[in-house]
Symmetry: C2
Amino acid sequence: MSQYHPPLKDLAFLLGDVFDFDQHAQHCGIDCDTGTVLAIAEEAGKFASEVIDPLNAGSDRNGAKWHDSVVTTSPGYREAYAGFCESGWNGLRFPEQYGGQGLCSVVATAVDEMWHAASLSFALCPMLTNGAIEALLTAGNDALKETYLAKLVSGEWTGTMNLTEPSAGSDLAAVQCKALRQEDGSYRIHGQKIFITYGEHDLAENIIHLVLARTPDAPKGVKGISLFVVPKFMVNPDGTPGSRNDVRCASIEHKLGIHGSPTAVMLFGEGEGATGYLVGEENRGLEYMFIMMNEARFSVGLQGLSVSDRAYQHALAYALERVQGRAVGEATTGTIIRHPDVRRMLLGMKSRIEAMRALAVYVSMQKDLAHSNAAASGKAKARMELLVPVLKGWLTESAQDLTYDAVQVFGGMGFIEETGAAQYYRDARILTIYEGTTAIQANDLVGRKTQRDRGEAAFALIGDMMADVKVLGENGHPAAQRLSTRLASACDALRSAVNWIIESQESAPRAVYGGSVPYLHLWGTVVGGWMHARRLQAALRKDGAELAAVAHSASFFAAHVLVNAPALAATIKEGGSSALDFPDTAWLE
Amino acid sequence: MSQYHPPLKDLAFLLGDVFDFDQHAQHCGIDCDTGTVLAIAEEAGKFASEVIDPLNAGSDRNGAKWHDSVVTTSPGYREAYAGFCESGWNGLRFPEQYGGQGLCSVVATAVDEMWHAASLSFALCPMLTNGAIEALLTAGNDALKETYLAKLVSGEWTGTMNLTEPSAGSDLAAVQCKALRQEDGSYRIHGQKIFITYGEHDLAENIIHLVLARTPDAPKGVKGISLFVVPKFMVNPDGTPGSRNDVRCASIEHKLGIHGSPTAVMLFGEGEGATGYLVGEENRGLEYMFIMMNEARFSVGLQGLSVSDRAYQHALAYALERVQGRAVGEATTGTIIRHPDVRRMLLGMKSRIEAMRALAVYVSMQKDLAHSNAAASGKAKARMELLVPVLKGWLTESAQDLTYDAVQVFGGMGFIEETGAAQYYRDARILTIYEGTTAIQANDLVGRKTQRDRGEAAFALIGDMMADVKVLGENGHPAAQRLSTRLASACDALRSAVNWIIESQESAPRAVYGGSVPYLHLWGTVVGGWMHARRLQAALRKDGAELAAVAHSASFFAAHVLVNAPALAATIKEGGSSALDFPDTAWLE
């Protein structure tokens, strides 16, 4: 296996040159500077590449095992997780009040990328714990916070999110899990949950389940869902784990990828009922979930970047070493990176990864701003909410193409499991499904993020992008010319698509949603091009190889990705109706 | 698991309405008519869906096993293969002289699609045998034909193709396997071959290896490679298998997919040397391989169609049955096929599959014509040679997208192996790699198929497509208008790309090859649209639901696939250089 190289240089470029993190921090009132972020990232990079990454292939071959309700994680996971918590990585972004380090979103993004790159499977455990912490911070009462937060922030206990049931997947309105209020104010929870990531494992002494369920008199649909804390072990008055709660893991799934991450079927209340504690108020569970969802979806988008970069690095290492054939126009046999198509695949990966990483950092800056007292926080919140489905959808869909190409670079060896490229390809496949499929993201982008404000946030962003087009167009560098031309036409295409989606809201709602996924791809394509514009502007202040690398990557993105924007807009506007009107009797012919 | 439905209705439409098979047969002097082809296809469909398809999932979980040089195939494979041979399916296309049925390429295409759809893994065994038969028919002397052909045609013995070595993958010039001529005219073969499909198994009493190797005085490179027959068991004078030859299977690979197909490492001549017999003349091995290669590449292209259709049918069955959520614009909760994005994915699969199948039938007609005494055989041969890399490359690349979407339709269940969708996705992954990667196909398309004749075959085909654009444009049906407009602009884009590729041959050879894969995609996109034009012309002579289904599928293809042609042409022309000029020092940053 190749070695994982944390993207420290690109991070320094993004924070120092492209986005001016120091100014951002000042603006948000964050007590942190670029040097500090990079120093933290360097340490995280070491832990990721030296401790986590070496476990990843083994956890694929020797995944989590279930026996008699007990789950044993892959060899090395327990030690690595203990080290992870000991070094304080788990609590990086959480309030110091609960033992965290109170660092901002940009820092969290920088280090989270590395955990996921080193191992999607391993990093899912802290990622789900983060979700549980966010839920309690958002809506938990003081008693819940007091009992659970410090342990979750330190990582001594881990958290899970229990949403899905066999008949309630994308449609949470169908949740059937029951919650009965007891005299002491607690609830008895009964029901089955499926697809519960790290629902059971041996990494921590307690597992805190966040569970969606209905009280008996709750309204039907999404307005009757409440959120509960259900610990695996009840918590003693002194804060230590006590007796076992009535919840157990019935089995774990046999999956295409992320074998190191146990995906559990959870049974709540096979006996008298699992004891649960209401988070916030009854019937507001979905609302709390939505608050956390931005965070969770952002994290999954980041996983798309991470697995893409890891797969790219793996393929690149092979391309630099494997000798095969004489490339066209060259005199001698060389390494395969000399072949034009191998270079096309590699720069295709690299240029998309650079756009993805820049977008992740940009959105995390909007998160920081939105949570700050800065004047621009309202605008930043709207922009973050617009871009989260784009980041989740586009980064994870891109990850499919990139991990595919990474296999392709290996030729026949790519199909052999021992090579390792296939694992990234298989692992990545979950990313467009969980935390809301791409269609769910796309529908959110159409309905809540475009139509609801009549395109206000969308047009504001397009305006900002066009301003950068103008600046770039005034620069004589060939890459600046190429990119600004393509980005201008892409912005036009996007604007026309936004207009059409708003105009057709009433007249052709189903056709609009028939184009929602292409609409998401169009957004990703355009903001990806914009990120290259920002990168190129920063690089134009440099010269030599540094400028050349950024300029070629930007030119590549313009000619291979941005170029597709007008066709995507046409597909959105013309493509929705044929599938909708296709005769139902004619599918299987 | 869903049931496999052979595409009999679409086949009847293609042969009866779109392509007029009866006239084609008459033209080629083939003694066969549409009714006969459909009757054969119906029988093949039964065998595929009732005997082979039910073994496919089991052979994934319980793949071929190696122990001490012996390979045991998956449960049920032996019986199914025996039935396959007994029913005469193995020899369908081969001369009656050797016990075959002498049927034409169109028939072979129709039934081969079904074998591959039922199980890529199972069908690889007869597919490789076909390759060995073609090699012997092409270049074998009478003695070789006499000894081997009847047994291979019946399927009692199977064949393999031994090309790849650890240092000779895409680059066969690097083949190192040795062949020493003996006094009796036979050769002693020494060397290692890898990635040998069905190199060892228990389905047949003998395995006939076709092996590329070099004689001691052979020229370097591809002009010094010879082709040998190396039987697993020597053949007695009475034609029965005799003593064991010096060849054995050292191991089989642990692969991402097609677990039912053993992929062998073969050792030739660990002792005194494996006995081999020269096929044709020394040093002409690669030439013979190239003759067969059209056949083999066509077959792999067909596998792309097959696995796509099987995955589509599997997803469709789920979409028609799974209830989840209320679709936008609808009053009640329904099956997920009511959701606009699910319909988009399903019609996206269906419309591409229809284009792929039509193209496979069209190219097989060109093969029939090329092998006939018809006046148009020269033109047909050129067209077939132009289209084979397109068929191999575009159908197999499309299969990646389609099997991906088929997983997506299942949502979370798609990631669970028991669902079965993931197997198609994993199995399909080999198709863009073996028998020449997509880049190898694309380079062939650029060099041998476009530049060598200065675009003659390409422009002739574009001319034919434009003639259909004209006919379609004269029809007032909205789908005819939409499709003819998009196809006209796609043909323009393709023509401009062909021109650029010819013009830039000398001035920018590396940039041309940097765009070779997009060039292949452009060809697939345009000929796929052309196939829809042919289908739509035929359907316009019908009415009601039959026309509606074809028209909506064509409209979908126009708005979602053909629409991308102009951008692909731009990528080809502008996109090659950035990857080539990217500074080599800057990859890992």
